[in-house]
């Protein structure tokens, strides 16, 4: 399948992973079977890595805090950062781990029930790992936009019925 089609499949799924595959096949002018195969291939190739739902927990009763933690480490001989990143990733509290350029090495995103819980994680788990030099924790106060989605403004059709 041409790259262009792959890109369009991905763009559509990225925007709405619940899109009806029957509709998507029509939109892309391919058969539903080809589309399903292509998606399966991309899952195998780890291009499509999952279909999570974007949830704004702030609008629920659930207490939840998100923190970004800047982590400085000493890279280990021979394996660089990867082994350590994998270790950090294993904790359930950790939602994302990125290797960064600039003043620190890892950006770790944590979700916890409370500040206390996050603090406990940083003290007990993260800082305790060998090779971790320092951490700097930033709590998220409010989310405005996430994964390309504006969480606040309701999009409504502003167009008037004009003679065009």
């Amino acid at each position: 399948m041409e790259n262009k089609n792959r890109e369009r499949i991905l763009k559509n799924l990225e925007f709405n992973s619940r899109i009806d595959l029957h509709d998507l096949a029509i939109m892309l002018n391919i058969t539903e079977a080809d589309l399903a195969n292509e998606i399966a291939d991309m899952e195998k190739e780890k291009i499509i890595c999952g279909y999570p739902t974007l949830i704004n927990w702030d609008n629920t009763d659930k207490e939840q805090v998100t923190a970004l933690i800047e982590v400085k480490v000493t890279p280990q001989r021979g394996i660089g950062f990867d082994m350590l990143a994998e270790r950090i990733s294993r904790f359930n509290e950790v939602t994302s781990v990125y290797l960064m350029s600039g003043g620190f090495d890892f950006m770790v995103l944590i979700e916890g029930k409370s500040m206390k819980e996050v603090a406990k994680f940083v003290f007990d788990k993260l800082s305790a790992l060998e090779s971790i030099l320092s951490t700097s924790t930033h709590f998220v106060l409010k989310k405005y936009k996430d994964h390309g989605v504006d969480l606040f403004t309701e999009k409504k059709d502003e167009r008037e019925m004009v003679s065009a």
């Binding site: 763009k11 509709d23 003679s163």
Partner: protein, 388 residues
């Protein structure tokens, strides 16, 4: 008291789209596939440039023909996209939307009694503007079986010794038809033979699917007898900014600029600054929107096919123009009943000229979810109608 109103104006009928929308507005909860403008917001980097121009105090008139930078970028765009070379200070007039450019072009060229040939179905402004400028309108009803393209024979048949101007619009509103190079080459010879000038409304030029748009002005011998009308509304989703332009021979652009200077002064300054940004850095936005339109187009065509409504495959703009003659209803009856029974707004084809009778215009400048929902209602309407 006397009747102060001009008699010619009174004779002009209000737009058929307007008439239909007035009815639609009264229906509670109606969903629309009727609007003829993009559903995307203007890309933020373009809006931001407009805002920045305000912050910098760009709150004054620009030169009548438009900002130099904008005219230079328009020349670059015309060259890069359609392979036509214009000089920024001779061939370009920046206008308040493409609509103004059409009006200016007609007023600059029509002498009383000149015949203006208009291909229909077409956008609603050509005929009244030509009439108001003193022209005599001759329409060429284009045919579904030709995919609403203009043929050599049709043009030849419409020409009289008084013919002066041909107005055409491809990609077309309302049909979505395009003219490919071979189609343009055929009519080109007729245009030159009869010494006509063309007003080519190419406002949808960046919305073609599968094939790139060809401007008639790029054909040998045509640049000197063509006014190309284009603008930002459809290409960059900038309808509310009211920004368009005309490109053409120096002597005509000079006269158009004169009328524009007296009637309008200049296009909105902040829109012009935003326009520079659009032309310089907006190519990716075009691709993004075009891809989305193309997917919706395929979706709508497939749904119509499933409903058994014939429709030629339009390769441009964001409209489909299905043939509803098989239902035994006029375009207006069809649209009114669809509106009353299923609360869906589509525009009757006859709003775009008599040759649109028997057709409806469906705009797919809506999200897939909206299209899906609205077309399910259309299907319901048809099933109910056929069951009766």
């Amino acid at each position: 008291m006397r009747d102060f109103v001009n008699k010619e104006i009174k004779k002009i009928k209000p737009s058929g789209i307007r008439k239909f929308f007035d009815i639609a507005k009264e229906i509670d909860g109606a969903i629309s596939l009727g609007v003829g403008e993009p559903d995307f917001d203007t890309p933020w980097h373009i809006r931001e440039e407009g805002i920045y121009s305000l912050e910098r105090g760009k709150t004054y008139y620009t030169s009548n023909a438009g900002l130099k930078d904008l005219r230079i970028e328009i020349c670059n765009f015309m060259n890069r996209k359609y392979n036509i070379s214009y000089e920024w200070n001779k061939n370009i007039l920046v206008t308040v939307g493409g609509s103004e450019a059409i009006d200016m072009a007609l007023r600059a060229m029509i002498d009383p009694g000149d015949e203006v040939i208009i291909t229909t179905p077409c956008y609603v402004s050509y005929e009244p503007c030509a009439t108001l400028a003193g022209g005599i309108v001759k329409t060429i009803p284009l045919k579904n079986e030709n995919e609403f393209r203009l043929t050599k024979a049709e043009l030849e048949n419409a020409i009289t010794p008084k013919s002066k101007i041909l107005i055409m619009c491809f990609p077309n509103n309302p049909t979505g038809a395009i003219m490919e190079k071979k189609d343009l080459e055929e009519i080109k010879d007729v245009i030159i033979k009869h010494d006509l000038v063309v007003i080519s409304d190419e406002i949808y030029s960046e919305l073609t699917f599968g094939k790139n748009h060809i401007s008639i002005a790029s054909l040998p011998g045509m640049k000197e007898r063509t006014i190309v009308i284009n603008g930002f509304s459809k290409t960059y989703s900038m309808t509310g900014w009211r920004l368009g332009y005309a490109c053409g021979p120096e002597n005509i652009i000079f006269q158009m600029t004169k009328i524009h200077q007296f009637a309008i002064m200049c296009a909105p300054t902040n829109s012009q600054y935003a326009g520079v940004e659009a032309l310089k850095n907006g190519d990716d936005d075009i691709i993004y929107m075009r891809d989305a339109y193309n997917e919706r187009r395929r979706f709508v065509l497939k749904r119509l096919e499933e409903m058994g409504i014939p429709c030629f495959e339009p390769k441009g703009a964001f409209y489909v123009f299905p043939d509803i003659r098989g239902f035994g209803l006029s375009s207006e009856e069809f649209c009114l009943r669809l509106l009353k029974e299923e609360k869906v707004v589509v525009v009757p084809g006859n709003a775009f000229g008599e040759s649109g009778e028997g057709f409806i215009r469906i705009s797919y400048a809506y999200s897939i979810d909206d299209l899906k929902n609205a077309l399910a209602r259309v299907e319901n309407f048809i099933n109910n109608y056929l069951a009766k």
